[in-house]
Amino acid sequence: MQTEDHLLPETLTLVQAPECHEEEYELVYHKPATMVDVHMHYCPGCAHSLVHKLLMEVVEEMDIQEQTIGIAPVGCSVFAYDYMNIDMQEAAHGRAAAVATAVKRLMPEKYVFTYQGDGDLAAIGIAETLHAINRGENILIVFMNNAVYGMTSGQMAPTTLAGMKTTTSPDGRDTGFYGAPIKVAELMAMLPGAFYVTRQTVNNAAAVRKTKKALEKAFNYQKLKRGTCLVEIIGNCPSNWKMTPMEASKFIDEEMVKTFPAGDIKLPKADELKIKPEEP
């Protein structure tokens, strides 16, 4: 499959960047070489593209492109493998943690991560996720929580906020009928196999930097062979929230974090920060 497959229709012309003479400038930022140089299919303002980039920056900075295998979900980020310049597998809906389990067990020295949305992980895939974490699989689960099914255009997810309107909860999520939104990070942190669990946001520059740090930590922790790292990231979905990206950022600060507070939920103990000795 070619990366151009789902790109913009030809009728849309892209704005050409002005000519730049590199020698005249100091390079302060570059797109990581671990990203494929193509336009993304994500909606304007969507957090997926940003988090893809953060992940790939970490892979580049740690120089682990050759050791990293990613598992893509079903959902908006189903095409993650078109953007991340690493070996990847596209899993069936919800099954990324099972796929990652096998990849990591067979290649324990590699870095393995799944990248999943809230429908994929918290609804159809919660069993695979819970059991992978309970087994303490030495993988990183990147959990993008934007409280809706994005790709299928805005249906209610297990993480949809109480009272939040979606196409399948047109009067707002009735928690008496559907239950309360699932707090995945808190739930999974209860499992002994969870080594590092954190929830981050990416709706401002400081938060982006913190998220990158969390991802960096989680990749490094894989070397310790001590269990699963879960990084939940409060994403956004301007298209389905029917907001501008700026309004969506505000919604995260004002509403999303009330249900999904940002911060570390489970941190490794000091004496666990060394490689787990192999059992005889």
Binding site: D5, E66, N85, R95, H131
Partner: protein, 357 residues
């Protein structure tokens, strides 16, 4: 490797053959009548430094197989009918993403929870698709404990050769019964998977990715046509069947797996009575021996498909003979097995019926 005969259960012979075949990883979930496979491998695989895992469900099992196969490892799972139903989505993904692996169905009688006794009710599911979309698997149908072992080697090799899942369609009786088995020396052809397996992207090559997603219909069609070309090759090259007493046969039993074993005995009894009956046993039920059955139609007064279901493979026999001869069916349901005498009686009744016509 020893080549002396051992007395083993079908399920255990299959499990041992997986080890001999260099299976890197097995993922499974307990279900009767095949739990011995998981139990045997849970005990033996670690000794060979291979991966064996009891998954949380058959859904997880098949997706673990996907992950392992996608990373280029020889991987397998086994289950019985209800569990295989749960795996259908995963099997479709494996076929769509062209991942080689071995899946074993120790068929029990259904539908629903059914019974733990043997059945052949999963024939359609196995050979006509099962999961969603256009795909096919090579389906091997063992009729003995020996074949439970042999088909593991063959199955892995065919899976690697065609980059396609292969199914062993056994049943509760073949899985549970004990017979002698010899583990023949086997050499893994070690097919090079580096051009597609996700082992980590070195600077020297483009990234590898495993997917069955082709969002543009034009690309999807190209992929479908590529798969179909592969299935055509499989239909041309991998038809396997066994014939017994067909040279002078006026009547033909058609049966696979356990039913073929019973028909073989029925054939011996009938022959002693002077009835010239032969047996065609499809070894592969996909691809199916349509051509050979059509040839045999020229000499047969009728064919009798004997199955442990309400009539599934009989439709393929009908397709094969194109109406040239009558095709009859005899089936046992609910996990019951027909006796050879019962089949002979059925044969005699049918001979009378067709003679009267």
């Amino acid at each position: 490797m020893t080549t002396e005969a051992k007395l083993m259960k079908g399920n255990e012979a299959l499990a041992e053959a997986a080890i001999q075949a260099g299976c890197d990883a097995y993922f499974g979930y307990p279900i009767t009548p095949q739990s011995e496979v998981l139990e045997y491998l849970a005990r033996e695989m670690p000794k060979h430094k291979r991966i064996v895992m009891q998954a949380e469900s058959e859904i997880a099992s098949i997706n673990m197989v996907y992950g392992a196969a996608g990373a280029g490892f020889r991987s397998m799972t086994s289950s019985s009918s209800p569990g295989i139903s749960l795996m259908q989505e995963g099997i479709s993904y494996l076929a769509g993403a062209e991942l080689p692996c071995l899946i074993v169905n120790v068929n029990r009688a259904g539908p629903g929870l059914g019974t733990i006794q043997p059945g052949q009710g999963d024939y359609f599911q196995s050979v006509k698709g099962g999961g969603h979309g256009d795909y096919k698997m090579i389906v091997l149908a063992p009729a003995s404990v020996q074949e439970m072992a042999d088909f593991v080697y063959l199955g892995f090799d065919l899976a690697d050769k065609y980059r396609n899942p292969v199914l062993i369609l056994s049943d509760g009786a073949i899985g549970q019964m004990m017979e002698k088995v010899v583990f023949h020396p086997y050499t893994n052809p070690n097919v090079d998977k580096s051009s597609w397996a996700t082992t980590g992207k070195p600077k020297t090559r483009e990234r590898n990715y495993i997917t069955s997603l082709f969002i543009q219909p034009e690309r999807m069609e190209v992929h479908n046509l590529k798969l179909e070309a592969k299935y055509k090759l499989i239909r041309e090259n991998e038809v396997r069947f066994e014939e017994i007493n067909t040279a002078d046969a006026e009547y033909l039993f058609v049966a696979y797996g356990l039913s073929a074993r019973i028909c073989q005995k029925a054939m011996d009894i009938a022959r002693e009575k002077g009835i010239k009956v032969g047996l065609l046993r499809p070894i592969c039920v996909y691809p199916y021996p349509y051509k050979r059955l059509e040839e045999l139609a020229a000499q047969s007064k009728f064919m009798l498909s004997v199955e442990l279901n309400s009539g599934q493979m009989v439709e393929d026999v009908q397709l094969a003979v194109k109406g040239k001869v009558p095709v009859e069916f005899y089936g046992k349901l609910g996990g019951l097995l027909p006796t050879p005498e019962e089949i002979v009686l059925q044969l005699e009744t049918l001979i009378q019926k067709h003679h009267a016509n």
